[in-house]
């Protein structure tokens, strides 16, 4: 009996060992990126456009012969905006040999920060995640690569100031989705209120954020705000536009953070004619007229296919292209530094930290990612709804770097 068991035991271990070793396929001339997406969960309105944009850019790069002779392979996993699924997706990506993880979602970024640092694989959190991750010395493997909520907050205040011709003594309402991401810019805004001498009042919208009649009424008629800074997610930005419009508050006195700023939000609010004047912060260029987008269209034409319909939603699609482009740039830098060798997460991290002077025809801001600044400057643009489309209202700008630096330094 005992010998029998021993044999079975040995066989099982042997089987397991072969099974275990045979796992990672010999990847030749291929760089793997793990792409986390949400096409079905709470923020699916973003994912269904952003992820195709990401894939199309990667496809374009491969179509043009890859990066330094390597093909890029982006493995997408949809995590439904749930953290356990995100963890599982990460482990799967790691198993597939990913040298870079494209995170999606603030809770996922926080949950994976420790893991990424231990495994030394860089992860990017454009437009979400923790603003404190800008500090590359504290968060060596997290790269916001686009304006964090803190940078968006300072930009919103500066934009409001310009629109009103000064901030002193003005009343600004902050209308936000009542979750951690929504509250993140609060310390920055409070600081700026004290510094610039304007009055700040906060109006929280409880999840799921589709009911804000009371808050909007309060802003427009009781508080009589001079300007509104809105930071909403999912369905709620469209509701805010609708309610503000209904009550007669001028939308040109509203500026939204990056997740309330897409074509889909405007259409859900009743179309571009309703939202005329609405301002929105963007971390990627908006509109169909960028050379890289033309290249993608040409690629599809050469394949004898129609360009994907997702391209029509330029805000999120372009963000997907921007994220992919920055990733490819980091990988290019890593490969250049290590010609012929296999790159690891450490190399890609160094690759990110050398990104500079790369604009993709205006789609990407003048980023400069360094070992200490993983945000790349925190550049944004403001677009305004005008005549049926988004029109650029400002060029790339960043504001109050001293205030941001103070908070980033103080953050744990």
């Amino acid at each position: 009996m005992r010998r029998c068991l021993a044999i079975v035991f040995g066989l099982l271990i042997a089987a397991g060992a072969t099974f275990g070793v045979a796992g990672p396929a010999a990847a030749q001339k291929e760089v793997v990126i793990g792409l986390q997406c949400d096409r079905t969960g709470a923020t699916q309105t973003v994912g269904v456009y952003l992820c195709p944009g990401y894939h199309d850019y990667i496809k374009l790069v491969n179509f043009k012969g890859g990066v330094e002779g390597y093909k890029i392979k982006a493995i997408e996993i949809d995590h439904e905006y749930k953290v356990p699924q995100g963890m599982e997706a990460y482990e799967r990506h790691k198993k597939e040999g990913a040298v870079l993880i494209s995170l999606y979602g603030t809770p996922h970024t926080q949950a994976l920060t420790a893991k990424l640092t231990e495994d030394r694989i860089p992860g990017t959190s454009p437009g979400f995640g923790s603003a404190a991750a800008t500090d590359g010395t504290k968060y060596p493997y997290i790269f916001p690569i686009a304006a964090t909520y803190w940078s968006q907050g300072t930009a919103a205040v500066e934009f409001a100031g310009k629109q009103m011709g000064g901030l002193k003594g003005k009343k600004i309402a902050y209308l936000f989705y009542d979750n951690p991401a929504g509250r993140e810019p609060l310390p920055i805004l409070e600081d700026l209120a004290a510094k610039e001498g304007f009055e700040l009042k906060t109006f929280a919208v409880p999840p799921p954020g589709i009911e804000m009649g009371a808050q909007v009424l309060d802003i427009a008629q009781r508080y009589r705000a001079d300007f509104v800074i809105a930071h909403l997610f999912g369905r709620s930005p469209s509701v805010s536009i609708k309610e503000l419009k209904r009550i007669g508050y001028p939308l040109r006195k509203v500026v939204s953070f990056v997740w309330g700023a897409s074509e889909a939000d405007i259409e859900a609010a009743g179309g571009f004619s309703v939202a005329e004047g609405y301002n929105a912060i963007q971390f990627a260029g908006v509109g169909p007229d960028f050379p890289v987008l033309n290249e993608i269209r040409d690629m599809y034409k050469k394949e004898g296919k129609e360009p994907p319909k997702e391209m029509a939603s330029t805000v999120f699609y372009n963000r997907g292209v921007l994220i992919a482009a920055i990733h490819v740039e980091a990988i290019r830098n890593a490969l250049k530094a290590k010609p012929g060798g296999t790159i690891t997460g450490v190399d890609v991290k160094a690759g990110f930290e050398r990104i500079k002077g790369f604009s993709l025809g205006g789609l990407v801001p003048p980023l400069e990612i360094t070992a200490t600044d993983h945000e790349g400057g925190g550049w944004v643009q403001v677009y305004t709804v005008k005549g049926g489309k988004f029109v650029k209202a400002t060029d790339w700008f960043k504001s109050y770097p001293d205030v941001l630096a103070k908070h980033i330094k103080a953050a744990k």
Binding site: F9, L12, I13, A15, G16, A17, F19, G20, G23, C37, R39, T40, V48, C51, P52, H55, E76, I77, D78, E80, K82, V83, P84, Q85, M87, E88, E91, R92, K94, K95, T106, P107, Q110, A111, L112, T113, A114, K115, E118, S130, D178, N179, P180, R183, E184, L186, P187, P308, K412
Partner: protein
């Protein structure tokens, strides 16, 4: 788990009280233990262990909820919140006081038990759907509190980074190390539940579930046992939350929202109410099904759709299939996977002489 009976031949109290009365059952458990503790972790890639880790955490939570819903008959839609109570208690203790996990973990469980017992007070007056709504209120209140009281949540981000648990000076960080860490707690939870439900307390729970007035008449203190059920169940939930926190390295309230409560209810309903094995089956089923569907779709989806479409179809089809399979299993066996397993076992017991 797998055992056959052949008359009652017990002659000692020890034999009567044994958890596994038959040698074959003991052997099965021993084999499973060897498989889980030795063969699996030594032979499988970290990715697969990470899936088992998620299952281990889910098993603890599902067992706890089953004690309350399956054994005591009191419904709760607030377990997600109890998990967050445990998670934030442990995170605060670990970060502010620097306490090790073997203090923070039970403390998190106890705090959750306390809160759970308070939320359970309405169960003394109301039952069924009304109780469900009362616990739902508990979920929302706890969520709101954690979200807004920065003293608990550690700042506007409402997330606290927790250091890795340490054992004898070594950090438990990789998936393989976590595997043993979590598996031990899952095993302890299984063993504790099995013993609990056959003890005096467990019998009282079952009596309350079957008929609370009858239970009161035969001398069971309904007040005490209902609250005890809530407390024990919330203790498990709290421990689940702590395990989650240590596993991810962060306590974040967005991981414990109402959908989590619903997921855990789904686990025990699919697995089988009022059974330990059912909780395990349910936890495995609900955790693995989305992953298995995705892996299948990735392998075979390309045969049916173009590669661009497949990326969009996989996640959506996964949700549809997930729902359909749950309905399928519930139609096939309303009493859950545990009953299905027992039917299979009973069939093979007399095979090939079935009647």
């Amino acid at each position: 788990m797998i055992h056959r009976e052949c008359g009652v031949l017990k002659t000692t109290y020890e034999a009567d009280m044994a958890l596994y009365p038959l040698p074959i059952a003991r052997w099965t458990v021993a084999v499973i233990a060897v498989l889980m503790f030795l063969i699996l972790p030594l032979s499988v890639e970290e990715y697969y262990l990470s899936i088992v880790n998620l299952v281990s955490i889910a098993v603890v939570g599902a067992l706890g909820l089953n004690i309350l819903v399956g054994y005591t008959g009191q419904i709760s839609i607030g377990h997600g919140a109890f998990m967050s109570v445990g998670a934030y208690t442990a995170a605060n203790l670990a970060v502010r006081l620097g306490l090790p996990f073997w203090v923070a973990l039970p403390a998190g469980g106890l705090m959750a038990a306390l809160v759970g017992a308070v939320v359970g007070i309405p169960s003394l007056r109301i039952k069924g759907l009304y109780l469900a709504i009362a616990t739902l209120a508990g979920q929302l209140i706890i969520e709101w509190t954690i979200n807004h009281v920065t003293w608990i949540s550690g700042g506007v981000q409402a997330s606290i980074n927790v250091p890795r648990p340490r054992l004898f000076g070594y950090p438990i960080a990789t998936q393989r190390q976590m595997y043993f860490f979590l598996l031990v707690f899952a095993a302890v939870a299984i063993l504790a539940t099995m013993n609990l439900v056959r003890s005096r307390i467990g019998r009282a729970f079952i009596a309350i579930r079957d008929h609370d007035i009858a239970a009161e008449i035969i001398g069971i203190n309904i007040f005490r046992y209902k609250l005890l059920a809530f407390a024990i169940s919330s203790f498990y939930a709290g421990v689940t939350g702590v395990l989650y926190t240590y596993y991810l390295g962060v306590a974040n309230y967005e991981q414990f929202q109402i959908t989590v409560s619903i997921d855990y209810l789904a686990m025990i309903i699919i697995g089988g109410l009022g059974s330990v094995l059912g909780s395990i089956f349910g936890a495995i089923f609900v955790t693995l099904l989305p992953i298995v569907i995705r892996l299948t779709m990735e392998s075979f989806g390309g045969l049916l759709f173009s590669s661009g479409a497949v990326l969009n179809i996989i996640p959506n089809l996964r949700l549809i299939l997930f729902g359909m399979l749950i309905i399928f299993f519930l139609v096939v066996e309303p009493e859950g996977l545990n009953r299905l397993w027992r039917n299979i076992r009973n069939y093979f017991r007399i095979w090939p002489f079935a009647y």
